[in-house]
């Protein structure tokens, strides 16, 4: 596929504009601190960010930075740099783009002046190549690498309704062996971070962070529920992606909690006033899989025909995947309970399909577009419940695998051939 420049979109909600402006200012300040010699961590999305926050160690999330690289149309160049150095560039693209940027060694041309050199790198070992990739990155930057093990749920019979059970019953819903392992590893991580950075971990601050993260997720849940229930939707998935994910990477801060509350409040105002991004909304679509960060405007192109993307996993997971009420338990164990199942909620057969169906029904979805996902079980279950699915094999940040025209034509055809009839049934109530 040819390299393309992507379809931009302008944020519609006041809170999203404030959120993106904050992110720029935060990054500039954080970069300055990092370049001045403060510890600076780069973490995978499934790393325990809350610990770094409790120790006042600034961090950037790999996937956010990769999505920014993609949005700035730098991904093809950075993937080429990986290949030139002899590394694979056809797998792990969402994680490896920042390494490509490092190899490019041209900060003035990189997004936002480039990612500062990390002093700490951390990832959860979720794929066969993850340890190797981060180790190479650490070697080339001089950073200390802290891998976290991932355990596997070995139970043969496990209940699927994780979104109902995890917030309050995590301590019994998840196998204790897995919680023990990660809780112990988190203790080891704290000790190593204290030793490496000279900063100390405050249990009191950490407990506050856990509360703030839960309040943040509650606000996301309110926003999600309102969007699900309101027809036409007060806003679109493309808008909620940015409005959700930037605060998510500041999870546990007062700012993030308040940003999520502002977002929920603005959604509520719009819903109550009957304001919608696309008042002609007729067809409600679900985007299953990672977002096309380099082309967020793409999602709006189907609105002319009344087809609106109202769901993405970003707000959905922010609403259902993070809340872990600590109660009388150890806050560190509650944090472990947030990360033990992370990724399984989205992609483990059984868990993901049940959740996708629950969310599709909640949002009154007429059709699902799935990009680059292992979606066999979700597809089967959604179709069984009368919701058609279009599966597209592509990598969201690798433009060699897709173009707007290619995906767009498939979606148009899908709507014409499969979704219209579902919509008609929903509207007629039959």
């Amino acid at each position: 596929m040819a390299e393309a420049t992507g379809e931009r979109r302008h944020n519609e909600l006041a809170c999203t504009r404030e959120i993106t402006a904050y992110q720029r200012a935060w990054f500039a300040e954080m970069s300055e601190r990092a370049r001045a010699g403060e510890p600076f961590a780069v973490l995978s999305a499934d790393s325990p960010h809350e610990i770094y926050r409790a120790m006042d160690i600034p961090y950037v999330v790999v996937q956010w930075w990769s999505s920014l690289i993609a949005a700035k149309q730098k991904a093809p160049e950075y993937l080429r740099r990986l290949a030139e150095a002899g590394y694979p560039n056809d797998s792990e693209q969402y994680n490896s783009l920042p390494l490509g940027e490092l190899l490019d060694n041209n900060p003035s041309d990189a997004p936002w002046g480039g990612l500062p050199r990390p002093t700490i790198l951390q990832c959860s070992l979720s794929t066969d190549g993850m340890r190797k990739m981060f180790e190479i990155w650490a070697d080339r930057t001089g950073a200390t690498f802290f891998p976290l093990d991932r355990s596997v749920d070995t139970r043969l019979d496990l209940p699927a309704n994780w979104w109902e059970e995890l917030p309050r019953n995590w301590n019994t819903f998840l196998p204790s062996a897995r919680l023990d392992l990660l809780t112990d590893e988190l203790r080891d991580l704290i000790a190593m971070l204290e030793k490496t950075t000279g900063r100390s971990f405050s249990e009191e601050k950490f407990a506050e962070i856990m509360d703030l993260a839960n309040e943040h997720a509650e606000a996301n849940r309110s926003a999600r529920d309102l969007i699900a229930a309101t027809v036409p939707a007060p806003t679109t998935a493309a808008e909620t992606m940015a409005a959700t994910m930037i605060p998510q990477w500041h999870r546990g801060s007062t700012w993030a909690r308040d940003a999520a509350r502002s977002f929920a409040a603005e959604i509520k105002e719009r819903a109550e006033a009957g304001i919608s991004t696309h008042p002609n909304e007729r067809i409600r679509l679900m985007w299953l899989g990672r977002g096309l960060w380099s082309s967020l405007g793409f999602y709006e192109q189907f609105a002319e025909r009344g087809a609106v993307f109202v769901w993405s996993m970003y707000l959905g997971l922010a609403a259902d995947g993070y809340i872990r009420y600590v109660g009388d338990s150890d806050p560190l164990r509650a944090l472990a309970a947030r990360f033990v199942p992370m990724g399984e909620e989205l992609r483990m057969p059984g868990w993901s399909s049940a959740w996708h169906l629950k969310e599709a029904l909640l949002h009154q979805i007429d059709g699902v577009i799935s990009l680059g996902e292992d979606d066999y079980f979700s597809t089967q279950l959604l179709k069984k419940n009368g919701i058609p699915v279009l599966s597209i094999q592509a990598d969201n940040v690798d433009r060699r695998t897709w173009s707007e025209d290619w995906i767009g034509s498939q979606i148009d055809k899908f709507i014409d051939q499969q979704v219209n009839s579902t919509t008609a049934r929903r509207i007629s109530g039959k």
Binding site: A85, G86, Y87, P88, S91, E92, L125, S126, T127, D128, G129, R131, K132, M133, E135, I136, P147, D149, S151, V152, T154, L156, D157, A177, D180, L181, D184, E185, D188, M348, P349, G350, S353, D374, Y376, F377, T379, S391, Q393
Partner: protein, 392 residues
């Protein structure tokens, strides 16, 4: 069989090529067979329960003469690697009726995915006549937390295996199985050392012998290795020594890559993947044999998947030097997400030695030697382009 007779080697090749036949014989005699996907599982526990552990190769899941498993639904196999897709297809078709249980090890995250898929298919009632499964999760870190976790998991596995066997594990039984496993490893190492001194035994045959050791009952394997050690006459040995090759990359569970290189005149003198030398680890005989088993598996050679670059490449370079290799060939499958990250560092390590390094990426289950022969310079890419040009 007589010492040194090529019949012995034929017997080994047959066991390696037809594991189902070995299983059938065992079961006919009233025994139970446990299939093992991966290298991580403690086979000794299966042996201690008087069952036969057979490491399964996805390309050899059916009886001789039967067609290989057809593909499962494409949209599902697309989510799996080609090797685990074959296991899935065999399960869906009820073709694994020759085993009484299947242990899936966490050698690779593709195995974790297969387990989750099989579990969900079972839950929705899509499996038929399939053996019971268990997943053995082993964490690779050496932290105390990981050690506690691994201990718990091995105990769980032991309980499941006991229930499949219908008998209790005993310390004596485990100790005996450990002792037998160590004898096999020592015999394999001795044979490999002899092969290196004079490469009269082909690398592909050594791969078959190593694979047979993961298939045949221990007492038979002990006898086979004793025969081979006392003087295999090497009647198929190459007349002139070729370039000495060490294989790294993805685990090679089929000899076609080796055979393609041997046909081109290369002598394969070693490998670090766990279907060959990389899987020969000794187990310390400890008062509680479980301790030794866990430690033994910890000291297995680092494989490509889930390990670090340095840990793996230093080991590869050391093993290649010990094998007095002239050339290291990294053969990795398209679905292997780990090996590719090693190449630049391994190249750096070998740069100061006389050992050359090349890389070939191949498709699992499609024995096309072209990428291999290109990598070693036997054919050029230009020749391939001409050969591959459509007729007319």
């Amino acid at each position: 069989m007589r010492p040194g007779d090529s019949e012995t080697l034929d017997f080994v090749r047959s066991a390696y090529a037809n594991p189902v036949q070995v299983a059938d014989s065992w079961r006919t005699a009233g025994g139970k067979v446990i299939g093992i996907l991966g290298h991580d599982a403690p086979r000794e526990l299966v042996v201690a329960l008087e069952m036969l552990p057979i490491r399964i190769a996805p390309l050899r899941l059916t009886r001789t003469g039967e067609p290989p498993p057809a593909a499962a639904p494409k949209s599902l196999t697309d989510e799996l690697s080609p090797d685990t897709g074959l296991v899935l297809a065999a399960m869906l078709e009820g073709r694994l009726d020759w085993m009484d249980g299947l242990v899936i090890c966490r050698d690779s995250e593709t195995h974790s995915k297969l387990f989750a898929v099989l579990r969900e298919l079972a839950r929705i009632g899509a499996m038929r006549d399939s053996p019971p499964i268990v997943f053995y999760d082993r964490i690779l870190s050496e932290s105390n937390a990981a050690a506690r976790y691994n201990r718990l998991r091995i105990n769980e596995l032991a309980n499941t295996l006991s229930s499949w066997a219908g008998r209790e594990l005993t310390r004596d039984g485990i100790a005996e199985a450990v002792s037998e496993a160590n004898s096999t490893v020592n015999a394999l190492r001795e044979l490999a050392a002899a092969r290196r001194a004079v490469p009269s035994l082909r690398g592909s045959d050594m791969l078959s012998i190593s694979g047979a050791a993961l298939t045949l009952p221990g007492h038979i394997m002990t006898e086979v290795l004793a025969y081979l050690a006392t003087g295999y006459d090497g009647h198929q040995a190459p007349s002139t020594p070729g370039t000495r090759v060490f294989i790294t990359g993805s685990p090679q569970d089929d000899p076609w890559t080796y055979q393609a290189l041997e046909s081109a005149g290369f002598d394969i003198v070693g490998e670090d993947h766990d279907w060959g030398e990389g899987g020969w680890s000794l187990i310390t005989e400890t008062p509680d044999p479980m301790d030794g088993i866990l430690d033994g598996h910890r000291t297995t050679q680092p494989r490509a998947a889930r390990t670090g670059v340095k840990e793996r490449c230093y080991n590869t370079a050391r093993m290649a030097a010990e094998a007095r290799a002239d050339l290291v060939i990294q053969i990795f499958f398209y679905h292997d997400q780990a090996s590719g990250w090693e190449f630049p560092f391994l190249r750096q390590l070998l740069a100061s030695t006389e050992i050359h390094l090349v890389q070939a990426r191949v498709q699992y289950g499609h024995p096309d030697p072209t990428p291999l022969l290109q990598a070693v310079g036997v054919i050029s890419s230009q020749e391939t382009a001409i050969e591959g040009k459509p007729h007319g």
